[in-house]
Subunit: 323 residues, 2 copies
Amino acid sequence: MIAVLCGGVGAARMLAGLQAVVDPGEIVAVVNTGDDTELHGLYVSPDLDTITYTLAGAVNPATGWGLTDESFHALQALERYGAITWFRLGDSDLATHLYRTGRMRKGATLSVVTAEIARAWGLSVRLLPMSDDPVRTRLGLADQREVAFQEYFVKLRHSVVVAAVRFEGAAQARPAPGVLEALGSAQIIVVAPSNPIVSIGPILAVPGVAEVLRARRDMVVAVSPIVAGAALKGPAARLLVELGGEASAPGVARFLSSFVGTLVIDEADADRAAEVELAGVHCVVAPTVMGSPELAARLARAVLRAGGIGAGSSGSATTGPEA
Amino acid sequence: MIAVLCGGVGAARMLAGLQAVVDPGEIVAVVNTGDDTELHGLYVSPDLDTITYTLAGAVNPATGWGLTDESFHALQALERYGAITWFRLGDSDLATHLYRTGRMRKGATLSVVTAEIARAWGLSVRLLPMSDDPVRTRLGLADQREVAFQEYFVKLRHSVVVAAVRFEGAAQARPAPGVLEALGSAQIIVVAPSNPIVSIGPILAVPGVAEVLRARRDMVVAVSPIVAGAALKGPAARLLVELGGEASAPGVARFLSSFVGTLVIDEADADRAAEVELAGVHCVVAPTVMGSPELAARLARAVLRAGGIGAGSSGSATTGPEA
């Protein structure tokens, strides 16, 4: 079984790559819920939805999130009320939030509803929210304001200076059912190329998760979300710098080194491999940019090999031509 | 000031007629919320929305409720989840429920949100929910089941035999701010041609409302929703019979007689006027079927005259040609 720590778009593509090369029923995704928010009374879980839609082949390819062939009539009508419209809720996407909210208002946990939604989309990958308890990522800005993640990420388009990040509720949160079991028994734990601070960080903040990872560090393989000093998407690069690190493959290695045994870095960063090793993290160089499903599958194979799961080494893994 | 006790479609048309013949700022609608329901976590208030959309000229003319030029993409997407889809939520209509739910989750009362929504649609008529507290109409069926109003009305299409009606929560409900004041000071209190049992009944069940109406009975003018033994819309006729009354203008008069001084009945029922009077209710015969805005305005004038507000008798009333 393969466990994957996941944020949104990058993780969704990584999972799609894994799904293409191993039995999807052997994949357990542990997904960040620090981005979750209540919007117009609806429970919105952006990373879970991005992953679900991507694995179902229904994601909007232009954005990497939301549904393809989407309409925005409800959003347009919300303008009349002066309600928040910077969070782009599509009409069909709304159904997911409506269903989730209706079920949770009747007492279902996020885990249970997540499984129901995944089943409705025909997924075989097992999706677990990191916790059924509320954990909310909040960003302290350089101007002294503190804002919720979606306000930072969507409304402010992450173009403000961040001075601090905290995960509200994390100390009281329990890992969702199955999370510690999956991390404790996986043959390999993959840290997807998601933002290490605001996507992987909240998962690590759930009590018990970091401990398991540290104990199983040799089996943890991360993919650097930083390529040639930049993030492919989102604020990972600037957050690493703003919070005192470096926006580079070695910077990622130093950030994750306490619980990651191996870091897969992009070929563009091959000259930084020695620095990654200096941080105490085994370094593997591979093409990491998932510009197509084929490239995602190739990265998945490289990650599995880095974790010691190659051709024939796992009953469930199937291998193709070498990358 | 004119107060109007309101259900949904019939009341909305009556209000539109009144709005056309008097200063809309002088009209206060006290609206049934016994039909309100939570659907997919959203607070849905059908009668308030039907009235808002009708007075704004945005209602779907084919149905009398919902918005014109509506799409149903969210509803269609809900099918994937096996969620309730018999309650037809349109995409643009969803915005109203989203806005209301978001505001109420943040602590706003239904009254406050109702006023905000009315303002957003440019209404001058003042809309008051009968109560900010939950009152839920429940129907005991002849087969011993008890169902919520929307299940009876929409899902079962009101084609089941009803043995009892109760208004859950009514005993503990307080009238919404302004309701008793409006009823206590109005020059005329109009009971719209709404279902007397399940639209007007819940309003009367709110403590204090029936008392004010009884005390001001001479100023209360109702319009019969039964014309020639049938309801123009909905289950009013069969409910009157099932609950031991008669589906006729005199049947309506007997049902309302304790707090209605005058009943306007349709010309088709002119031969029943004496029976209405026998029930102790003054009877006025007029064309009551609001097949067009002009007919609604004509009925509004007849109702105002029946309440003693004719040409020149009210500063705010304007009159047109006699019906």
